[in-house]
Symmetry: C2
Subunit: 309 residues, 2 copies
């Protein structure tokens, strides 16, 4: 059994071609390789990956392409959630067979007002149908999108029934008290909690957080990894402050299209700007402010692979 | 070009087996045949069908099974929405090729706060990729589940660009003023509005509504069809009142599991009670009140096919 994945993970941006919004496999591999080279993990198919906008087949194909390209599955935590048990089982089974370190699983998010009993039945059925001891399942709490929260009660029920398999959670609520409560309540049972922003790392790591799964790891993997390693050194506060400056730049604009704009500029691949509807690309006026703001912050995406190379 | 589908349509309940929650094709066909025999249309794969809980492959397989069984595609309006353009295109293309009278399409419902521009791009891309003049697309407004409304502005944009193809809407908001505004604004342009409950039929039909797509058409197709045909006769008020009594019985309990309980009883197939998680079956105490309540209302599901036959 491999060690559990820890540290910063990127919910990896998914590049599309303009025609039919088809995923661009080559740029996806290049982006993942750059992230791996910067020592961060790959939470492919998260919210910032526009994962909900991908079909199950597309997620399977992209995972296979990464593995064929030599990206280590042990550094991956694919999102395998969906609204259907059938889909979640297929994606989870595929991820486990590929050797992924874990899977990050949304609750089914169409029906609202569902009970913890119903969510427990959903996760249980997926775990039972996958039926593989290697499975490590991380619960994905992002109520602002799903409107279906992962409650403490649900975590209790699942941990009791599936200890070890239910391996942790990503808390995207943005509510610090919730993150702290998750860590305090469960991290001693080997339940790994990942907040959704590096801005809380200096507070969350001393409590026992496992790292973070944050959009801006796509932009600043080196800085966030340095913070993860050095938060408790004399440099900690300055590493946190530096990471926060970059985060702030993206937090003030629509984050997914903004990050894609920056990659488009840095990589010299204009198609990186493409987002799948219902998201819309960033307007040109806002887009033109991003690189100057990053430059002013003395930040660059060092050694990002460029089309001209 | 076939006539547009009108009248009452059932968001057809989907029967599952207990094992793996697999769809039960035979019971699905039998239920659809009974509905057709009662003169109502088949909005397969709607909210009450637990459609979000089905994979794309399952929806395709079930549609093919109905057609192979001789259920006329011209009486079907399959739900082909999802969060991904890839999925919506595949399902819509399949429905059109099969000869469905139209498709009922949810907006992508994972991301919240998306713009009308983004939703327009989504629907446009599906229409363009399907690229078939036979397509009749009905917009599905159900903000209590999606949190992504179909606004009047979006309807304007789509009708202007795709007249004829954008053929109507189902309004599940339950807000009468919204239904009335949709009918008043667009029905004269051949845009067919279906409210989500037969309880508004006597008010909506005189304004120009095309029928209704209502959960309880699964229970009471004959009564709702009679109301649709006879609302403007002397019997109209009594037909409305009779339909309302049945509707009320289901509206006061979790509707999907309750309807399945009743079909389980009437058909003598206990597996009809199975719902896919995250939904949960009705508790026995509540379930036991349903048939007596229906009996007291002098209602029965006449000629429903039974396991013992």
């Amino acid at each position: 059994m491999q060690d559990k994945i820890r540290g910063p993970l990127a919910p990896v941006l998914t590049p599309f071609k303009a025609k039919f919004y088809a995923p661009d496999v080559e740029r996806f591999i290049a982006h993942c390789r750059w992230l791996i080279d910067n020592h961060v993990g790959l939470a492919i198919f998260g919210t910032n990956s526009e994962s909900a906008s991908l079909s199950v087949d597309e997620r399977v194909t992209l995972t296979d392409a990464l593995i064929a390209a030599g990206i280590p599955a042990s550094r991956m935590m694919p999102g395998t959630g969906g609204c259907s048990i059938t889909d979640s089982v297929r994606l989870t089974r595929h991820a486990v067979a590929a050797g992924a370190s874990g899977v990050l699983m949304l609750p089914p998010f169409y029906y609202k007002g569902v009970s913890d009993e119903g969510l427990f039945a959903y996760y249980s059925e997926v775990i039972e149908q996958v039926g593989d001891d290697r499975l490590r399942l991380y619960l994905y709490h992002i109520p602002q999108m799903t409107q279906v929260p992962i409650t403490m009660n649900l975590i209790d029920m699942l941990l009791k029934r599936y200890p070890g398999t239910v391996a942790g959670a990503k808390d995207s609520s943005g509510v610090w008290d919730n993150t702290r409560m998750m860590i305090d309540s469960y991290s001693r049972d080997g339940f790994d909690v990942f907040p959704a922003s590096e801005s809380t790392l200096s507070s969350a790591l001393p409590l026992g957080a496992a790292g973070c799964i944050s959009a801006t790891v796509n932009m600043n993997p080196a800085g966030i990894y340095a913070l993860y390693k050095g938060w408790d050194t004399p440099e900690g506060p300055s590493l946190q402050a530096k990471a926060d400056v970059v985060r702030q730049i993206f937090q003030s604009v629509p984050m997914i299209p903004a990050m894609k704009c920056v990659v488009a500029e840095v990589s010299k691949h204009p198609e990186w700007r493409v987002v799948r509807p219902p998201l819309v690309p960033l307007d040109d006026a806002t887009a033109s402010t991003l690189l100057p703001a990053l430059k002013k912050a003395n930040f660059e995406m060092t050694a990002y692979p460029s089309a001209s190379v």
